[in-house]
């Protein structure tokens, strides 16, 4: 069975395990939705007082918020395994079990922790999207819809890559992995607003160093018809950086495994 088919086989097994406890599953889903929708509510409350932030309206910000949340939620559901690599596998020595199988460890980890309850988070993003569309009443063609989908894809790849980096860190230390949250959750928190509300250095950081903005800011700004200082075609292709980043992350993961096998458990 090839890698792709094996992934879905694993996911099936994992889902059955999660569905064994439907109440727990639903509670998790609801609490994810509740926690995140409250944050969106907070944004709405802010706009009740301030009405605009650097020229962006609530409806426009809601679109950025929605695209970012959905991308993050999708990545979260797919890459949850990397969160627990440290405590569940490396610290306990169970990582050996994965290495004893003739398959890539990354495949086994992501497949086995496929988290369906992330749908709660996705739902919150969809609510924000509906609000945005209802308020903007845009006339988007198929091109813009594709652009926004491509934006979500690039964002998902990027957040997935960041999660992979976090998992890789656990080969060196099983503590202090929190710091990776600065990039994953922090990145999400930052990208929920259009990046031009931040100072130049921060915006550049999120465009050129950890290219969250390439996937989640440039294409969306393009869709909203705002000029962001780069040609339209650049903005349209920018989400590819998310995939490039993912490629790098997986290479670094390989280095992490090499380190693990050198130091033992």
């Amino acid at each position: 069975m090839n890698g792709f088919a094996l992934y879905w086989r694993y996911v099936g097994v994992s889902l059955r395990g999660q569905m064994l406890y439907p109440t727990a599953f639903l509670l998790r889903l609801h609490s994810q939705f509740l926690v995140t929708i409250v944050e969106f509510g907070g944004v709405w409350v802010l706009f009740q007082r301030f009405h605009h932030v650097r020229g962006w309206s609530f409806a426009q910000v809601a679109l950025f918020y929605a695209i970012t949340s959905i991308a993050f939620a999708l990545a979260d559901g797919l890459s949850r395994g990397f969160d627990s690599v440290g405590p569940m596998f490396v610290k306990t020595g169970n990582f050996d079990r994965l290495l004893l199988r003739p398959r890539s460890a990354a495949l086994q980890i992501t497949a086995q922790d496929f988290t369906l309850s992330s749908i709660g988070r996705v739902a919150q993003g969809v609510v924000a999207l509906i609000v945005a569309i209802a308020l903007l009443k845009p006339d988007w063609g198929i091109g813009t819809v594709l652009l926004l989908t491509w934006s979500v894809a690039g964002g998902t790849a990027l957040f997935f890559a960041l999660k992979t980096f976090e998992g890789t860190l656990s080969f060196w230390t099983t503590e202090g992995l929190e710091v990776a949250n600065t990039l994953t959750y922090g990145g999400e928190a930052a990208a929920q607003f259009p990046l031009d509300i931040y100072s130049a250095w921060f915006r550049k950081f999120l465009l050129y160093f950890v290219p969250i903005g390439c996937s989640l800011y440039l294409p969306v700004a393009l869709a909203l018809g705002r000029d962001v200082g780069v040609p339209a075609w650049v903005a349209a292709l920018a989400p590819a950086t998310g995939f490039a980043f993912l490629f790098v992350a997986l290479a670094v993961w390989g280095i992490g495994i090499r380190h693990y096998t050198s130091t033992g458990s």
Binding site: A24, V35, Y185, G186
Partner: protein, 271 residues
């Protein structure tokens, strides 16, 4: 009453925290970063905005206080107790010659104090000292409005620790009564919102201000922080402290009563 067992619980908690030194540093870095992002976001909103119930300096300070004292909040039931419940061993808690409520309370309080003291200092160094040094005055954590504010803040944050512990013990009791910890995650969104950590309560619509002050979670963050920069003063300050104290009394009484009932049932059934 012998305080020794409770002191040793506190000491044990400190030791545990210090073992994970990388985690300690990482936690500080993460919180500083989150604080910075929120500060930058709020700063953008305040640009060109008119007069607001809190000015930017106060909101910025509020955010930093929130990050520094994040560990104060009742984020979850005590993990060890939750594990004991799920494995059915919670009855063994009764074997110890200490009052169970006080024991759980001491654990919760120790958790809060130890975790916070490790984070608050470094976050303060970074946000209150380093930022002004690097010319980013606008985003720095400001000093208290006055000596009186500082004193009121200290009193209030102490009440916060106690209030948060009381809530945590209630979470423990819920977990014990329901025999599962899965329900607890639900409450997080609400606690977050009503404590003021998502948006400072003062920035909510004006008509809601009265009710917001008197709900139990306001005392977890909003009240002490506003006392710090003097947004609550005089009569309002007294109201804030009174609200905290009131909820402490109510929640402790509720907790004791409920725990007795839950434990009596466990004693009889052998969990």
């Amino acid at each position: 009453m012998n305080a020794l067992p409770y002191l040793s619980i506190l000491r044990a908690r400190f030791m545990l925290m210090l073992q994970y030194r990388t985690a300690a540093w990482a936690g500080v870095a993460t919180q500083f970063w989150f604080g910075a992002i929120r500060v930058m976001t709020l700063a953008a909103f305040y640009e060109g905005a008119g007069k607001q119930p809190l000015n930017l300096a106060q909101v910025v300070t509020y955010i930093w206080l929130g990050q520094a004292f994040l560990a104060m909040l009742p984020w979850a039931a005590d993990a060890e107790i939750a594990a004991a419940v799920e494995s059915g061993n919670v009855g063994y808690e009764r074997l110890r010659p200490i009052d169970t409520y006080l024991l759980w309370f001491a654990r919760a309080l120790a958790w809060r104090v130890a975790n916070t003291s490790l984070r608050a200092g470094p976050v303060f160094m970074l946000a209150a000292v380093l930022l002004p040094l690097t010319q980013m005055h606008a985003w720095a954590w400001r000093m208290p409005a006055s000596g009186l504010s500082a004193a009121l803040f200290v009193v209030s944050i102490t009440l916060t620790a106690i209030l948060s512990s009381a809530i945590t013990v209630l979470l423990n009791i819920v977990v014990t009564a329901l025999k599962t910890q899965r329900v607890v995650g639900f409450s997080m969104g609400l606690v977050n919102l009503f404590s003021g950590l998502v948006i400072p309560l003062a920035l909510f619509p004006n008509w809601a201000q009265g009710a917001l002050l008197w709900q139990p979670f306001a005392g977890l963050a909003d009240i002490p922080y506003r006392l710090y920069f003097g947004a609550l003063s005089g009569g309002m300050a007294m109201q804030g402290l009174a609200a905290q104290a009131l909820w402490i009394v109510l929640l402790v009484l509720l907790g004791r009563w409920w725990l007795d009932r839950v434990m009596a049932r466990i004693d009889m059934q052998g969990s």
